[in-house]
C-alpha cells in the first residue's frame, strides 16, 4: 500500500503533440495511503487515460508518477504491484474460480500453501467460497466481476486497486449489492482504491474524496458534500446533482448580482472582475415564496417525493425543487434564492467569498 503522487502529468496519444492534442493537461495530484477515491467525469474526459497511466499500461508524455517516494513512471504494470478491474469482467475462461484467483500468485512463484491460504481468505471475503471449483466461464456477470476483483486483492502487497467503471455490465439490482461489497472490502483491506466512473451516484457513495475531471483537467477535488454544496466550477455544479445546478447569466453592479433586471443576494463578497458572470444555485435551494424573482411556470414534473418546477425568468429557465406543487402552466410565481447557497461564477470559476 502506498501514497500516490502525480507530478505535472500530461499525455497525448499523437507522437508530436500540439497543445490541443493533450487529452490530459497538467495533472498534479496526491492520494493518501488507504484512501477511497473516485475519478468522476463525462465520457472522454481523460479519466481512463489517467487510470491506465497509473497502472502502467500507458506511459505519459510528460510528468512523473510516484508510489510513496519511488518513481514508477518507467516500470511495466507487473512490477508496480497494482490491480485493475475493467469495465467488462476479465476472467480466464478455461480455469476454475480457484485457479483464476491463484493465477497472479502462481505467476509470481508464491508457494502453494501460501496461495491456498490467500485464495481461501479472498473467496470468503467475496462470498464465492462455494463456487471455487466451478469453471469461471459458467459464472454470472456479477460473480465474474467479483472474481476479477479477487484477482486484484489476492496479492497482499498490492499498492493500489483501480476500478474502471466496473459496474457497467452488471444488472441494476446487483449494482447496489456489489457497490456495498466494494465499500466493505475497502474497509477490510485498507488498500488505496481508485474508482473511475461517469455515474455520480457510484462516485459519491464509494469515495471519501472525489476528483472531478473535464476535458483533461481536474476541476475540483473534494468530499461528496463539498462537491454538492460548494462546486468550484459551474461544470461540477451542473454535472453533480439531479437535476444539476441552475446556472443563470447575470451582471454584477456595485458588488450586487442582477439577474434578468432583478437583484439577487449572494453568499458573500464578490471577488475579481470582468469575464462572463453567472449565478449558480441548486434547485434544492430555490423555493416558491410570496416575493422574490418573478417567473412564469413552464413545466411541473413530479419525481416522487419532490416536484420540480421549471419556470421562466425572462428567457432563462430556473428549476426549483419543492415538496408539492399544484401549479398551472403559465402561472406567475415568485422564486426565493437561499442567500448562503447562491454563488457567483466568473468564467465558470467560483468568485464569491464563502460565508464564514
Amino acid at each position: 500500500m502506498a501514497k500516490i503522487t502525480l507530478k505535472n502529468l500530461r499525455h497525448a496519444y499523437a507522437p508530436n503533440p500540439t497543445p490541443e492534442d493533450y487529452v490530459l493537461k497538467e495533472i498534479d495530484l496526491s492520494w493518501q495511503d488507504g484512501g477511497a477515491y473516485a475519478l468522476l467525469g463525462p465520457s472522454g474526459c481523460g479519466k481512463s487515460t489517467l487510470l491506465n497511466i497509473i497502472s502502467g499500461l500507458l506511459t505519459p508524455s510528460d510528468g512523473r508518477i510516484l508510489f510513496d517516494d519511488r518513481d514508477v513512471t518507467d516500470l511495466p504494470p507487473d512490477q508496480r504491484n497494482i490491480a485493475q478491474v475493467f469495465q467488462f469482467p476479465v476472467i480466464y475462461d478455461t480455469m476454475t474460480v480457484r485457479d483464476n484467483l491463484a493465477f497472479p500468485l502462481r505467476n509470481r512463484n508464491v508457494n502453494e500453501t501460501k496461495i491456498a491460504e490467500r485464495v481461501a481468505e479472498i473467496a470468503e471475503m467475496l462470498d464465492v467460497t462455494e463456487m471455487l471449483d466451478i469453471r469461471a466461464s459458467h459464472l454470472s456477470p456479477d460473480n465474474k466481476q467479483k472474481i476479477s476483483m479477487g484477482r486484484g486483492l489476492v496479492r497482499d502487497d498490492v499498492n493500489v486497486v483501480m476500478f474502471d467503471e466496473p459496474l457497467t455490465v452488471i444488472d441494476p439490482h446487483l449494482k447496489w449489492k456489489l457497490r456495498s461489497k466494494l465499500k466493505e472490502l475497502h474497509q477490510r483491506v485498507r488498500a488505496t482504491m481508485i474508482y473511475v466512473t461517469h455515474d455520480q451516484t457510484e462516485a459519491l457513495t464509494f469515495a471519501d474524496q472525489v476528483v472531478v475531471m473535464q476535458a483533461g483537467e481536474i476541476v475540483q477535488i473534494g468530499s461528496p458534500v463539498d462537491l454538492f454544496e460548494r462546486p468550484q466550477h459551474t461544470f461540477v455544479g451542473h454535472f453533480i446533482g439531479s437535476p444539476g445546478m441552475n446556472i443563470l447569466p447575470a451582471t454584477v453592479e456595485n458588488g450586487r448580482a442582477i439577474f434578468e433586471g432583478q437583484p439577487v443576494t449572494l453568499e458573500g463578497a464578490v471577488k475579481g472582475d470582468g469575464g462572463r458572470t453567472e449565478i449558480g444555485i441548486r434547485p434544492e435551494f430555490v423555493s416558491l415564496a410570496d416575493d422574490g424573482v418573478e417567473a412564469r411556470v413552464r413545466k411541473v414534473s413530479d419525481v416522487g417525493r419532490h416536484a420540480i418546477v421549471e419556470s421562466m425568468v425572462g428567457d432563462t429557465p430556473v428549476k426549483a425543487m419543492v415538496e408539492e406543487a399544484h401549479l398551472e402552466q403559465g402561472a406567475l410565481v415568485h422564486l426565493a434564492f437561499k442567500p448562503d447557497q447562491t454563488r457567483l461564477y466568473r468564467d465558470g470559476w467560483i468568485s464569491t467569498e464563502a460565508t464564514p
Binding site: S55, P76, P77, V90
Partner: protein, 287 residues
Amino acid sequence: MKTENQKAWFFVLPVLLLVAFNALIPIMTVVNYSVQETFGNNVFFWQGLDWFEQILRSDRFQAALGRQFLFTFLILIIEVPLGIIIALSMPKKGFWVPVCLVLMALPMLIPWNVVGAMWNIFALPKVGMLGYFMNDVLGVNYDMTQDPLAAWITIIVMDVWHWTSLVVLLSYAGLVSIPDAYYQAAKIDGASPWKVFRYIQLPKMKTVLTIAILLRFMDSFNIYTEPFVLTGGGPGNSTTLLSIDLVKIALGQFDLGPAAAMSLIYFAITLLVSWLFYTLMTKDDAQ
C-alpha cells in the same frame, strides 16, 4: 382438444423436394449400385454386401486409404500450427491489416485446377522455377514425375500454400475479437507470453479453430483436383489418394458396383472422423 394443423407440410414441401433431388436420390442411386452387379443393358443382379467386403479386403483400397490418412494428417499437423503462428504475428490495426488480409486471401481465390496447373509448371525440372532452382542451382535431385518423395513434398507444399490462409483468417478473426482488457489484465497479473497464449488466446480461438480443423479435415480428406492435375496420382500409385482411386474405378474401369460401395465407405469414414473431431473438440463446453 388441440386441432392439428396439417398446413405446415405445404411449407416444408419445397425444401423436402430440393433435398430429395440433390442429396437423397443421388445417394440412394449409389446405394442401389453398391448392392448389385450389372453387365450392361440395364440388367442388374443382386449382390448383397459382396462389393463392400471386396473393397475393404483389397490391398489397393487399403493402400489408398493409408495414403489418404497420411496426407490429411500431414496437412493438419502443418497447416493448423502454421496458421495460428501467422495469425498471431499479423498486425492488429493500421495500414498493414488490409494488405495482409488480401495477401492471405489470394491463394484461396484461385480455382483448384489452376492451382494444380500452376504448381505443375512451377515444379517441373528444367521448365519451372522451383524445379530449375532445386536441380540446377542447389543440385538436389528433385523430380516429382519420377520420385514419389518429391511428388509428396510437392502436393503437401501446394496444399499448404493454397489452404493455410483459411486457418490464418479464422484464427485471426478469433484473435481480434479479444478485448484489450484481457491483455491488460494478463500484464497486471504478471502472465508470461506463453500463458497469455494458453489461457487467453487459445480459448478465445477455440470455436473458430474447431471450424478450421473440421473444414481442413473434410477438404483434405476429399481432395481430388489439385493432386490429380499435378501428378495424376503418380509416379506409379504413390500419390493416388482415395478420390483419385475412386474416379479410376468408377470412370476408368466403369466398375459401378465396387465404385459405389467404395463411395459409401469413403463417405462413412469422412462422416465418422468429422463427428469424432467435433465431439472431442467441443467436449469441454458441454460440462
